[in-house]
Point group: C2
Chain length 555, copies 2
């Protein structure tokens, strides 16, 4: 089912119910750009991968979010699914919402257009969202404004602003406004709109009201068909004024709640601690947290803490399918091909039923790269593999789907595309540290090609080369046991320089530290300011709780 700002509020209770009842949900996102593989090196650690990904992709947006909920029916031994396809885009319709600049990548846009993505719908009807930071700021703004108004009513003083010089070209406008106000005061109307004008002219009118009509009129700005319009009314009693202010404040709180939009769906996933399944989920997961919940921190360990605290159970089907016992049974881990594979022997999919005809897909829909469809397919793949694990363990379906024990080896492991050794981000603990004893850092003349490197190492078998630039690379031996012999034999060669992986990394770290020290010498006030800001880190531990407290206090 397609969800935009026009049907979200109506659909939300049902979406929340589906999430609550589900055994797990699967997700998929479409982005305004990807481009995360730039400067990723095959021997990077997960931490290095995270930092590069963050830098490379932070400014891209999620434009479509797919969510598929799967509810297990024990009696019928089948899964009931509901799928939702959310268009997500925040228009900066009022001053409390940030006017984001965001990046697009031409190839990603082209890809989406080719898969029938509707950009007009996105930009016109996309659902709003607010991460913690933006929602805090929003709330602060309206609170401050409300408190200021209440205070000024109680002290019987106007909210004073600096007086502004009236420019020549505004005088005739103000003269006209005076005539209108005088006529209004002599008439019977309870209120009167003034001619539309820009913010500066409205300020001048407030100034005029303060100086010439202080005990006679109130002025109020309202939104009328997208324009801000000034309304004049007769001065009210203090109690009336307070009630008006309170009503306005409550409307603003409601508006804020409305702008939280899609974030509410994620808060529901957090609340029920559902297992979240995604295919090649790294970017989806990163952006889900960064855009909709908590801006992603620079620190990798902080990111892991935050995300594990929010989503304690995450499973990446790309990682799962690259591991035993699937690795050798599956020829391609590309989503569509993975499903093809899992629909054939020795695999078997459990029976899937669409719970509500308007809210489900079948495989035959072939809406590849519609986020909702891809989320659905991901859920199927996951079920195919889960069921297979149960069969290997001689478990009935019911037993299989009653316990998550079988999934333990795959849980909270995020696949990292392009790294060697099937490395992953382990959200719930320390990442593994595969040996790099068989890897060397090689510097060579620019003219060298792959064959030169292969030739150099040929006495020690085949090599895996991961280029750093046109005159350096990491070189890994397939025959790891040859590492020592290779190093002894090649370390003093002519025309190139060879280092162990460890010593090169140590050197790089030292260089970076020195550079950082040099830059962070807090000798200028500006730099000192920056440091202060970075010290004030967010408290991570209660990330979950914080999100809920706020959500409760707003609504």
């Amino acid at each position: 089912m397609e969800i935009t700002c026009s049907n979200f509020n109506e659909a939300l209770p049902e979406i929340e119910k589906c999430i609550e009842d589900s055994l797990f949900v699967s997700i998929d996102c479409e982005f305004s750009g990807l481009n995360t593989v730039r400067n990723i090196n095959a021997f990077d650690t997960p931490e290095e991968y995270y930092k590069k990904m963050r830098t490379n992709s932070k400014d891209f947006l999620i434009m479509q979010y797919g969510l598929s909920t799967f509810k297990y029916n024990e009696e019928e031994n089948n899964f009931k699914q509901n799928s939702y396809n959310f268009y997500v885009f925040r228009r900066p319709v009022n001053r409390n919402l940030p006017d984001n600049r965001f990046l697009c990548q031409a190839s990603s846009i082209d890809f989406l257009v080719k898969h029938s993505f509707d950009f007009n719908k996105l930009f016109k009807e996309g659902l709003s969202y607010l991460n913690e930071q933006d929602a805090d700021k929003y709330k602060e703004h309206i609170d401050q404004a409300y408190n200021k108004v209440v205070e000024s009513i109680e002290n019987k003083t106007e909210v004073k602003s600096d007086s502004v010089q009236v420019p020549e070209n505004a005088q005739s406008f103000l003269d006209d406004v005076k005539v209108q106000i005088n006529n209004f005061l002599n008439g019977d109307d309870t209120e009167m709109p003034l001619p539309k004008c820009n913010a500066f002219f409205r300020r001048l009118v407030y100034q005029l009201g303060e100086s010439e009509y202080r005990d006679k009129i109130s002025l109020e700005t309202r939104q009328v068909e997208g324009d801000r319009v000034l309304f004049v009314s007769r001065l009210k009693t203090l109690e009336e004024e307070k009630q008006i202010a309170k009503k306005k404040y409550e409307e603003q709180l409601k508006e804020l709640d409305n702008f939280i939009g899609f974030t509410k769906v994620l808060k529901c996933l957090i609340k029920f601690e559902k297992l979240i399944v995604g295919h090649n989920i790294c970017l989806d997961f990163f952006h889900t947290i960064d855009k909709f919940l908590i801006p992603s921190p620079d620190s990798y360990s902080e990111f892991k803490d935050i995300s594990h605290s929010l989503f304690p159970k995450v499973l990446d089907t790309k990682y799962m399918s690259s591991c035993e016992p699937f690795k050798n049974l599956i020829s391609s881990t590309i989503l569509a091909q993975l499903l093809e594979n899992l629909r054939k022997k020795p695999f078997e999919l459990p029976q899937i039923v669409i719970e509500d005809p308007s809210k489900g897909y079948t495989v035959e829909d072939i809406k590849e790269h519609e986020a909702g469809y891809d989320a659905f397919i991901t859920g199927l793949c996951f079920l195919g593999m889960w069921k297979h694990l149960g069969l290997l363990d001689n478990k009935s379906d019911t037993k299989t789907f009653q316990s998550m024990n079988l999934l333990e080896p795959y849980l909270n492991r995020i696949y990292l595309s392009g790294l060697t050794d099937n490395q992953c981000i382990l959200l719930s603990g320390e990442d593994s540290q595969p040996s790099r004893d068989h890897v060397f850092h090689l510097t060579f003349p620019k003219e060298w090609k792959l064959s030169n490197i292969q030739q150099l190492f040929s006495p020690f078998g085949n090599v895996f080369v991961s280029w750093l630039d046109d005159s350096s690379a990491y070189v890994g031996l397939y025959k790891t046991e040859q590492a020592k012999a290779a190093y002894v034999s090649l370390r003093n060669g002519d025309g190139y320089a060879l280092k162990t992986f460890a010593s090169h990394r140590a050197q790089t770290a030292t260089n970076q530290l020195q550079k950082k020290r040099k830059n962070s010498d807090p000798s200028t006030p500006c730099q000192r300011k920056k440091m202060d800001a970075s010290v004030k880190s967010t408290s991570i531990d209660p990330a979950r709780n914080k999100l809920f407290q706020e959500s409760n206090s707003w609504t």
Copy 2:
């Protein structure tokens, strides 16, 4: 008339004819973001304005380009107009086209959507374009590839690439390919497509061909319905091979010519040295050059040289309408309101005729912020003012529109929004340097508001305050003759610091120079590299000629 990639080639000859026949053209652009006013200060020089604008807006795109051509008919004393509305977007459909990352601003996207901009059309059917740099690279790529192929044919050697290790999961695919090739060689077909596969697998097939079928088959990759497919054919004679290579090269040249797309329209404007009219043209003009012709240089004077060399006659109606004799006759220089003004006495628009019913607007169309319509309205405003200048000079329309002398005071002056003294970029010479003797730099406590500053200067009349941050500002006296008295009286005050504008600017310049020197100490190879690159500046003088030489050599 709407122009997309689907009707551009057909329409181009006529567009070129309209440009050639026109007395002038007017333009207007719609962007993916604006946001240029960030950190612009009212007392900035045009050079400072240019540099800030370049930094702030370089990554935005032009998404729609409006062009209106106006041809004067002396006998009928009217103008025949044709208007075109180009959707401009480059999809990175082949490897020679850069996969741009570009910025969008949520408010700009929202603005366009509200004015019925069709983003699906833009992304699906937008016209391609290539600036000089990208076109050069493109040409170089296909030339190099062609030369390499010809050389290898002549030397009877294959284009060798490094051999790649066949991974386990590819072996069954390659075995299958071998069976197919053997069957093909035993059959009668002249060629055979191989199963679709990714780039790496195609490389493995080429390797297989080289190692096992060297004297028997040729392999060629072709584009089939968006996919790259390998075709096997029997080995050809050298002459045949050369002809195939040449044909392919010619097709690629044609393809390149196609991708130059919208840039051709601008080359036509350059060729005929037409007067270009725009309203508040600064961003339009900057992006026109930067995106479609020559990437905008960091140096302001270089930018002026390049742009004046390309477009020797540019007129900004926003600037024109802010000058004498229009300044006091026109109440608003916002485009729609300007036209309203110019349709009333003492102004009079010349008669405008739509030359071709499918290619013109009337004022009543009210398609505000469709680039083509805004270009048309701009042209009307220009004509209203031009005719008025003629009337003031007692000239007949014919005489007025026969000579551009009347326009001299406005020519090549680009309006800069937000600067004092109606400053502009003078493309054809040195910018004016209005006196800043009545302006001071003031540093004060953070708590100060506008009223504190006004009070400080009150003995010397009203002031204009241009904030720099929350504790400093430039303060200009309206009574300029009070400058010396104010300085003498206030320079030694308590709780604030006052400097003349000149001395503050001198200080800032010195600080920047020192900072630059510190950073540019070429002690590391990386920095040295950067410096070498920056020394290799583009030759500006023949910017026009270069664009034409290349255009001729490609087509």
